[in-house]
Amino acid sequence: MPRRVAIIATGQTKHAARRLDVNIAELITEAVTRALQDADLTMRDIDAVLLGNMEPFEGFLFPELWAVEGWGGYMKPSVKFNTGGTVGTTTAIAAYYYVASGIYDTVMAIGFQKQSEGHTQTAITTVGDPIWERSVMAGAIGNFAVMATTYMHESGVTEEQAAKVAVKARRNACLNEYAHLQMPDITVEDVLKSEMLAYPVKRLDMCPQSDGAVAVIFAEESKAQRLAPRPAWIKAVATAHEQQYMGDSPKRLAEMRSLIAASRRAYQAAGITNPRRELDVAEIYEVASFAELAMYENLGFCERGEGGKLIDAGVTELTGELPVNPSGGVLSTNPIGATALIRVAEAALQIMGKAGRRQVEGARTALATGYGGNAWTDILILSREKP
C-alpha cells in the first residue's frame, strides 16, 4: 500500500519575460527559499530533491549542474526530469512516488526555466520528427494551429470564444502577484486584432515565454499534519502517452486521447463521477486559448462540442461553477520546465486556502494537469480530505 502524501508548502519566483537581475541558480534559490519559509523548514529537512527543466532550451545541457548551489542538491539524493510540457507534473508525480513508497519522508520538487537565455522556437523545432515533420513545419505554433482548425470544425467553437479564454487568463493573472502577463484592460477585440501567427492562432491566443521557477514540498502523513495547518493531500495521479506523429491522430485537439485516458484513470482513483460538480477548481496546461476549450470537453467538464458554450456561460470564470486557471494559467506565465509544476502549486494553494486574491472560496478538490509534445498528459487530483 502506498503511504498517504500531501503537499505542505510552495514557493514561486516573480515570473517575467526576462529576469535579468538573476542567473539560473539565483532564480531557483528565490523559489526554494520561499517554499522552505512557507513550511518553516531548512534545506537540511529535505530528504531528496527532484528537478524539472526542459533542456536544452537555455542552450546547455546539465543546467542543474551549474545551478546546484541554487537548488540545494549538494550530496542529496536527486533526479532530473525532462519530459517537455509535462516536466513539472512528471516531477510532482515522481515526488509523490518517492514519498508514497516509504523511502523518503520529505521531498522537494523544483521546476525552472529561463527562456530568455535561449531560443525557444529553435528548441521546440528539435522536438519534431527530423525526417518528415521538421522538414515541412516547425515550432509549436504551426502545430497548434493545424489542430485548432480541426477542432473548430469538429466542435463549432469560434475565434471569439477562444479569445474569451485569453481574456479570462490575463485578467485572472492580475490577481496573482507571481504572474508574468497581467493585462487588466484586455478585451476580446484586442485578442482578435492581435497579429495572426498561423490561422486561426493569433499572438494573444498563445502563451508567452517566461523566466521563472517553482518549488513544492511533499511530505508523508505525520509530517504533513505536523507541518501544515491544512495540507493538500494527493488523491490521485495518472499519466498517459500518445503516438508520435501529428498525423497519427489527425483530430488531436478535438479528441485528446492521452488527456481522456489519464483523466478518467485519475477520476476513478479519486472516486469522481461528475468532474464539473465534484471538482472545485482546475489548473490546466492550456498552451493556447483553443486548447483550453478542447480540454473542457476532453476532461469531461462538458459534452463534446460544448467547450465554447462553457466559456460563454462564465462557468470557468473565477466566480463560476468550476473556475479554471484562477492563477492566469499558462497563457499568462510559461517558464516551460516550471509551468506544469506551477499548476500543481496553484492547485495546492487553493486547497490550503493560501491563494490570496485568486482564492476559490471553500475549494476542497482541485485538478492539475500537464500536457506536452501534443502527446503526453499528466493528471493530479488534490484534496482537503485524506485519500
Binding site: 535579468l20 527530423p130 525526417i131 522538414s135 515541412v136 504551426g142 498561423a198 486561426p200 503516438q243 501529428m246
Partner: protein
C-alpha cells in the same frame, strides 16, 4: 552593472538514421510511389510507415502502396508573401495523416478544398520534399 549579459551562438550539426521502414518510404518517393505499412493486429495503415505498431506493440511486416491522393483533414496559414499553407492530409487507404504544404490554392478557398493530390518535383532525391506540395483535385 546590475544587468550584464554574455551573448553566444552555437552551431550544432546533426545526422539522422532513417531506419528500415522510412528508408523504403523515402526510396519510394524518389520513384513517385508512396509506401505504407499495415498492422496485422489492429489493421491500421501507417504512413509514414513504421516497422512496429505502437498500439499493439508488435512488428509490422505488411507493405502496401497508397495513391498519392487524399483528403485534407485540417490546415493552417502562416502570413508571408506568398502565404505558407500547411495541411494535414490523409491519403486514401491510410489511417494516419501527413503534414505537408498545400499549393495552387488561395487561403480563401481552403474551406472548400477537400481532395488533394501530390505534385512531384522533377529532381527527386528520396526526401519528403520530393513532393513539392499537395494541390486541389479540380
Amino acid at each position: 552593472m546590475s544587468e550584464w549579459i554574455v551573448r553566444q551562438k552555437i552551431r550544432i550539426p546533426f545526422q539522422y538514421t532513417t531506419g528500415r521502414a522510412l528508408t523504403r518510404f523515402l526510396t519510394g518517393l524518389a520513384e513517385c510511389r508512396i509506401w505504407a505499412t499495415r498492422c496485422a493486429e489492429c489493421a491500421r495503415v501507417y504512413v509514414p510507415p513504421r516497422s512496429f505498431c505502437g498500439r499493439c506493440w508488435r512488428e509490422i511486416t505488411e507493405w502496401r502502396e497508397l495513391p498519392a491522393e487524399g483528403e485534407v483533414m485540417s490546415y493552417t496559414v502562416r502570413p508571408a508573401d506568398p502565404p505558407l499553407i500547411l495541411g494535414l492530409i490523409r491519403l486514401d487507404g491510410a489511417d494516419t495523416a501527413l503534414v505537408h504544404r498545400l499549393g495552387e490554392v488561395e487561403p480563401e478557398e481552403l474551406e472548400r478544398v477537400v481532395r488533394v493530390r501530390a505534385v512531384w518535383r522533377e529532381d527527386r532525391t528520396g526526401s519528403i520534399l520530393d513532393i513539392a506540395y499537395f494541390a486541389p483535385v479540380r
